[in-house]
């Protein structure tokens, strides 16, 4: 959401503003002097430049001022704002693109030392030992659980079910780690090929282990690697596709707005260092991380956890710092507006409190953002690389250190870079038998030395050419890189893979940031961005821990200092010396056994061969190969496969991957449930409901309601056993024959005050308002500049310089905005002010031949005789002891009054009228009856009988269009050739020849009794259609070409498969002489 700086109120959300089109297009001084073409040019033609564009905006939900803004149409950046009447500033430069993030280092991926030798005390035998937790049902539980490592709470045993089998895990587990602890690695089958697939990662990037949660509430397609374990969890594996719940979700979802000086996304080493630098400065800081606890990659490597705990404790007590755990920032929008979803009670399972929202969407507006989102390890396209047991190397290490889980017993490692060595060494130290490390590089350097010293065989210049196993990996074949046959076979249930690291640049890219290809890292890293954002740590391509910490601290300090705060000296951990790095090999595909698939996108089952078919078909862009093969379109959005796919396509095309780039990153970063996005905006809170002061009375008296805009208006009041038709006929009869009353409070009301009020209204309305006498009322029509009817209503002259204008119910705000636009932008010299008073008054329409008797009985001071109180006059008096303004207005053709009182007294007035009218059978009526009564009189309803293409003349209201006024809005358009055509559609009445036949609204009309071959010439359509008590028949209003010249003609209305004959009539079908108006 853009922030638009109102010149008065300062920056506010775009949603508070209305757009007003191009600025500096003044209303012509003398429209009548313009040719049709010149007028059309003014009306319809606007510039459409790329780049800076001056336009009008109104702060509609704020101070209601119109102003001008120069917006860059290519970036949506608001370059400047200025008040109406001011000149456009001469030259405005777009803000400079931000400096490149402070990237450093030359090696991808966090590469840290292996565990010290002391860890070897934690070795478990390869066969595994039963866990400390008592075995259930004789089943040895959690045989792959390490006895000491990990941050799970071993004293809390949680029972869960997966694919019908009950297992145990601990608090702190993910579903995936708990499955691994129980020796379960397969977690589904693939979507197209049905191949078994196993847990592949330890985070949100998971492509394989995407499961269905069954209880407590069904949720499809959740990565088991990100589902926190809770007691009673029931989940099942999926064939690549989940199932939506069929029952409504009973949980609460909500949203909040938040503001901060600095938002840090990611609480890994860089993010924590940034927060450490910013906290305590007084700056408002939000630190959001998608895991249950801060630490990021340090949790996965088991390093510096004391520091993590110390920083976290400081942050939790620091003033103005908010730490949001279990919170995924999933969208980065304009002006540093970021959306995040916090999972608040998932991990509590059935114990979640009902009044706490399950998920909360955070709408965060941040002055500055530091993205410390880390990096995702990517795989390699080698033969049969999808068997359960193939796992990203750092993820296996994370399962060990976060959850104390051994992902297998015997492992083979395939890597192109240093980072897999640390994983291999840690797993080896924890008891995993690492059979061999196949390193594709010719030289593997100091890390390989360290592995060899630990007793692990390292084969440089080697790769995996094939794997075996079905539900679980059983063997891996390793051969010199490039060979496709032979090689050595290693028995293994785990294959650790590292093809390099991809910075998690999703949010940066969403923010509008550009990525560049880093030659040294062999991947795409954040480059520049227009927004106030920095990227730190692995997300910026910084591979080493010390660098990430320093970069994070510097970014955090810079951000808050830019906001005027002073950063302290952050406490950072001492990172011990590392083995000297060896450059990674930039490699995507690995030759392997003939015929074995080499998967690129595991979740979409896309292989190297599939991509080859795409490039073979002539596709040259990754955006095209993505759409051709679906690679990257699954709900993991290609987090582990996107760059791999680019690399494979580059190899296939024989170009450098840097020339291809990546596909576009779009929100959300991870899937977000519709329930969370909807939040509380559902059911009765979905849209505001407006009610009048009499609403409770209507409810108590059985009214059914109609939505008119946001208003709830009584539609009709059925009595016992009545259907709508019967009720409306009864209500109509009461209004025509006795007395009836209606709540008309919803009509828009605008107080127009000032010495130039009459001049102003003369310009707005088609008819003359300045000649209206104080104490009198006039009906008026407003047009848009194109001459089409826009609104109608009555104008009451309260004083020489004061009018009360009414608008249609749904158009009140639009009309007020329209008035303000003209006053503020075109006619600032007019001394007029407009104020909405819609709710200042409650209005009761009292209608029917007996209405005078009822009013007279309650208004002793009011002379109600026709001569004393004529039609279109108003009086101030008391009605039932309540101060009232009574208007003699009729929207039914009957003698009628509109009684306006304070809404605080409305119920008292209504009840007094109801009681006083009882002897006359007073009847409450709703909008349906109002519509019938007005239609019988041919009164149009703007928006029902008009559609923005209808002039007052089309409606037969030429009498309401002044010929004396030099100009009014729309006048020039009425003289255009098109609006003066004789064959325009006119509003006419229609009488079906069978008086019982009802024409549905929208029915078209044709000339002949037999349909000609298409295209059938259409003459017009039915806009309103009713059954009339007064006429004893059905009737309709319609817009028909040249309709007024067709009165008496027979036309045909196709209704279903019939052609219904109808007769064109005057729209005024009831009391055409107007005899009933005065009672």
């Amino acid at each position: 959401m853009l922030l638009i700086p109102c010149p008065w109120c300062g920056p506010r959300d775009e949603a508070e503003f209305h757009y007003g089109g191009q600025a500096h297009v003044p209303y012509p001084e003398d429209p009548s002097a313009l040719t049709d073409e010149e007028w059309a040019r003014y009306l319809f033609f606007r510039d459409n430049p790329k780049g800076p564009f001056a336009e009008r905006w109104s702060h509609a939900a704020g101070c209601r001022r119109w102003f001008n803004a120069v917006r860059d149409t290519s970036t949506n950046e608001i370059l400047t704002v200025y008040r109406t009447g001011e000149e456009r500033p001469a030259s405005i430069e777009p803000s400079p693109v931000g400096a490149p993030p402070h990237a450093a280092g030359s090696r991808p991926g966090p590469a840290e030392p292996a565990r010290p030798a002391a860890f070897e005390s934690g070795i478990v035998p390869a066969e595994g030992k039963p866990e400390a937790a008592p075995p259930g049902e004789g089943r040895p539980t959690q045989p792959f659980r390490h006895p000491t490592l990990g941050r799970v709470h071993r004293d809390e045993v949680l029972t869960f079910t997966f694919d019908g089998v009950t297992y145990q895990g601990h608090r702190g587990d993910t579903l995936a780690s708990a499955l691994l602890a129980n020796g379960v690695v397969q977690a589904g089958t693939s979507i197209k090929l049905g191949r078994p697939r196993g847990i592949f990662s330890a985070g949100v990037e998971e492509p394989n282990a995407v499961v269905q949660i069954e209880e407590p509430f069904p949720e499809p397609m959740l990565p088991a690697t990100a589902v926190e374990l809770y007691d009673g969890l029931v989940a099942s594996s999926l064939p690549g596709q989940g199932r939506l719940a069929t029952a409504p979700d009973p949980a609460r979802y909500d949203a909040v707005h938040a503001h901060c000086d600095l938002l840090i996304v990611g609480a890994g080493p860089a993010g924590l260092a940034a927060a450490e630098a910013a906290a305590g400065s007084g700056a408002r800081v939000i630190l959001a991380d998608d895991r249950p606890e801060p630490g990021g990659s340090l949790l996965g490597t088991g390093e510096h956890l004391d520091w993590v705990d110390a920083v976290t404790a400081r942050l939790r007590t620091a003033p103005e710092v908010r730490v949001l755990g279990r919170t995924t920032v999933f969208g980065y929008y304009d002006d540093n507006h970021l959306l995040a979803v916090e999972r608040r009670t998932h991990h509590l399972g059935a114990a979640a409190p009902e009044n706490v929202s399950r998920e909360r969407v955070w709408r965060i507006r941040a002055r500055r953002v530091v993205l410390a989102t880390g990096a995702h390890e990517r795989s390699l396209a080698f033969a049969d690389n999808d068997r359960p047991g193939v796992m990203l190397a750092a993820s296996a290490r994370a399962h060990l250190h976060r959850h104390g889980v051994l992902p297998g017993r015997r492992a083979v490692v395939l890597t192109t870079n240093d980072s897999a060595y640390a994983a291999a060494l840690d797993l080896f130290a924890a008891g995993v038998d690492v059979a061999v490390i196949a390193d594709t590089r010719a030289e593997a350097g100091e890390w390989a030395e360290r592995a060899r010293e630990a007793g692990i065989e390292v084969l440089t210049g080697h790769a995996v050419i094939g794997t075996d196993g079905d539900a679980r990996l059983t063997a891996v074949t390793v051969a010199p890189y490039g060979e496709t046959e032979g090689g050595r076979e290693f028995a293994a249930d785990l294959l650790l893979v590292s093809g390099g690291w991809n910075p998690v640049a999703h949010l940066f890219s969403q923010a509008g940031g550009r990525l560049r290809h880093d030659e040294a890292l062999g991947t795409f890293v954040p480059d520049t961005c227009r927004q106030a954002v920095e990227v730190a740590g692995g997300a910026s391509g910084t591979p080493d821990l010390a660098g990430a910490l320093a970069q994070g601290a510097a970014a955090g300090a810079r951000a808050i200092e830019a906001e005027g705060y002073t950063a302290g000296t952050p406490r950072l951990p001492q990172v011990p010396a590392q083995p000297r790095p060896t450059p990674p090999q930039h490699l995507f595909t690995v030759p392997g056994r003939a015929g074995a698939p080499r998967f690129v996108d595991l979740q979409r089952d896309v292989t190297v061969d599939d991509l080859a078919r795409a490039t073979g078909a002539g596709l040259r862009s990754v955006e095209h190969t993505k759409r051709y093969t679906t690679a990257g379109t699954a709900n993991d959005q290609g987090k582990t496969s996107g760059v791999l796919a680019s690399g494979v396509v580059a190899e296939l095309l024989g170009v450098d991957v840097s020339a291809l780039g990546t596909t576009t990153f779009r929100p959300p970063y991870t899937p977000v449930s519709f329930a969370a996005l909807a939040g509380r905006d559902r059911g009765v809170l979905h849209d505001p409901v407006r009610t009048t002061a009499l609403h409770e009375w209507h409810v108590a008296h059985g009214a059914l309601f109609e939505n008119v805009g946001q208003w709830k208006r009584p539609w009709y009041y059925p009595r016992d056993g009545e259907d709508m038709g019967t009720a409306v006929l009864r209500e109509c009869r009461a209004a025509r024959e006795g007395v009836a009353l209606m709540d008309a409070s919803t009509l828009g009301k605008i107080d127009v005050q000032g010495p130039d009020a009459a001049v102003f209204l003369d310009r707005l309305y088609t008819n003359m308002m300045s000649t209206l006498k104080v104490g009198m009322i006039r009906y008026g029509v407003m047009c848009r500049l194109d001459g089409m009817v826009f609104d109608d209503g009555t104008v009451i002259r309260l004083a020489p310089d004061r009018f009360l204008v009414t608008t249609t119910t749904g158009n009140a705000a639009t009309v007020l905005d329209w008035m303000e636009e003209w006053l503020q932008t075109e006619w600032p010299e007019l001394r007029v002010h407009c104020t909405s008073v819609t709710e200042q008054w409650a209005t009761v329409a009292l209608v029917g031949p007996r209405s005078r008797d009822v009013l007279g009985s309650l208004a002793p001071d009011l002379a109600v005789a026709n001569d004393d109180f004529p039609f279109m006059a108003w009086r101030e008096t008391t009605v039932a002891g309540i101060g009232a303004r009574v208007c003699r207005i009729s929207f039914s053709g009957e003698l009628a009054y509109e009684i306006n009182v304070s809404p605080w007294e409305a119920l008292a007035l209504w009840e007094a009228l109801y009681e006083a009218g009882a002897p006359h059978g007073i009847t409450p009526y709703g909008t349906e009856t109002m519509h019938v009564l007005r239609a019988e009189k041919g009164y149009p309803i703007i928006g029902q009988d008009t559609d923005g293409t209808v002039t007052p003349q089309d409606l037969g209201m030429g009498w309401a269009v002044s010929k004396k006024k030099p100009d009014f809005i729309g006048k020039r358009s009425h003289a255009r050739a098109d609006t003066a055509r004789p064959d325009r559609k006119h509003l006419v009445g229609l009488l079906p020849e069978d008086p019982g036949t009802f024409l549905p609204e929208g029915t078209h009309l044709v000339a002949d009794s037999v349909l000609p071959a298409p295209p059938v010439p259409m003459l017009g359509h039915v806009t309103s259609s009713y059954r009339s008590a007064a006429l004893g028949r059905t009737f309709a209003l319609a817009l028909i070409k040249g309709g007024r010249d067709r009165v008496g003609e027979r036309l045909y209305a196709p209704v279903g498969d019939r052609l219904v004959p109808v007769t064109v009539a005057s729209p005024v079908l009831y009391d055409p002489e107007g005899a009933r108006r005065d009672g």
Binding site: C63, H257, R284, N355, P688, Q840
Partner: protein, 200 residues
Amino acid sequence: MADTVPTSAPRSPLGGAAARLAAATRASAGAVRLAELPFLTQVNVRLDAKGPAADAVGLALDLPLPLEPNTVVRAGESTALWLGPDEWLLVAPPGRERDLETRIRDAAGDEPVSVTDVSAQRTTLLVAGPRARDVLAHGCPLDLHPRVFGPGRCAQTTLGRTQVVLVARDEPRAGFWVLVRSSFAGHLAHWLLDAATEYV
């Protein structure tokens, strides 16, 4: 309309919601306080802020009209809210609208000034208590942090998708006034009670 004698007590837009607001206030054990402040006098004033009428009106009311956008000035029981560069809302205890209008018009003399009684156009909700900001943050996009929206600030904005005038009361603990169009008041009360769910 001088001799108005209503036949029954006036009914405020949220009279029917008073019990629910009070119940939520009690249930929150002090965390949130929700109540309608009904029938306050509200008068909309439009005049040229740079003209002589501005000072004259301020003197006559003993309440200078605030010139800084989105601020309020309080004097005694009356408050003047900035709504626009030539628009203010005067809020006072019930029943003062005639008196205010007369004094403003007399003070303005021949200067063009528009005065409109809008006492029933909006009603006023009190949202106070330690969690008041949290409740409002569920639906108000504005930054209501005391550094940004402290005592003396007001704003026209949206809350729960209804247009409101927000006023920060004299001290942070005193919470906020939320002025809302009467027709939306029932919806907004419902929305506030829902937003307070976690705190009651």
